[in-house]
């Protein structure tokens, strides 16, 4: 099966500029995640969608970051304006959660990421 697609793979911008990332999850995966991975750290969840609804955006800096998944399939993550500390790899993942509650199983599949450098 095709994997999670992301574009662009690399982006270099100056601070205060805007940038957008795109993600196309695996077909049929209802759940989509955006993570930020700063060099030397583990991925940090920014936002999680279930179909086209947001279920967790508690760690998303909402003053500058936004994300949408309008038709419940692909998604875009935007940063406006960018800061130096936003330099990181932005990972998109999708999963097909089966079962419910305490009997649910969630395996995530990751895309290649977009490496953002803010100068």
């Amino acid at each position: 099966e095709a994997g999670v697609a992301q574009s662009p793979r690399y982006k270099i911008i100056e601070k205060r500029q805007s940038v957008a990332f795109w993600c196309n999850p695996i077909s049929g995966h209802a759940t989509l995640y955006w993570y930020q991975q700063i060099l030397g750290q583990g991925p940090k969840l920014l936002i999680q969608f279930q179909n086209n609804g947001v279920v967790d955006d508690s760690q998303l800096p909402k003053d500058r970051f936004s994300a949408e998944r309008l038709k419940g399939v692909d998604s875009t993550l935007k940063i406006q304006p960018a800061k130096l500390e936003d330099s990181a790899v932005y990972l998109c993942a999708s999963s097909l959660i089966w079962g419910q509650g305490l009997s649910s199983y969630n395996e995530q599949f990751f895309g290649p990421g977009t490496r953002l450098t803010v100068l």
Binding site: G42, Q48, A93, F110
Partner: protein, 116 residues
Amino acid sequence: AQSVSQHNHHVILSEAASLELGCNYSYGGTVNLFWYVQYPGQHLQLLLKYFSGDPLVKGIKGFEAEFIKSKFSFNLRKPSVQWSDTAEYFCAVNAQGKTSYDKVIFGPGTSLSVIP
């Protein structure tokens, strides 16, 4: 709040040495557990996963992990490492039932360098 810790930030081994990377989590309920690997310049790949059943899980490339519920641990092991195992290793935990959705928390990662 749920959290995941990994014991070592950076591990250096010679080829053929045995590997054990520690992972502990803080959550008293039911969990799914994962180890991911990230080779230089590549994206995250799943090494192995635990959902239920036998606590000793075997994954790809000769890796295995043991879930010890009483210790809240999910340590990764490999009896004999190769140079090609040089990578970043991440432990991740999916805490079930805490909210209406499943949330996956990643550890900070352990960088493994294998010397030929």
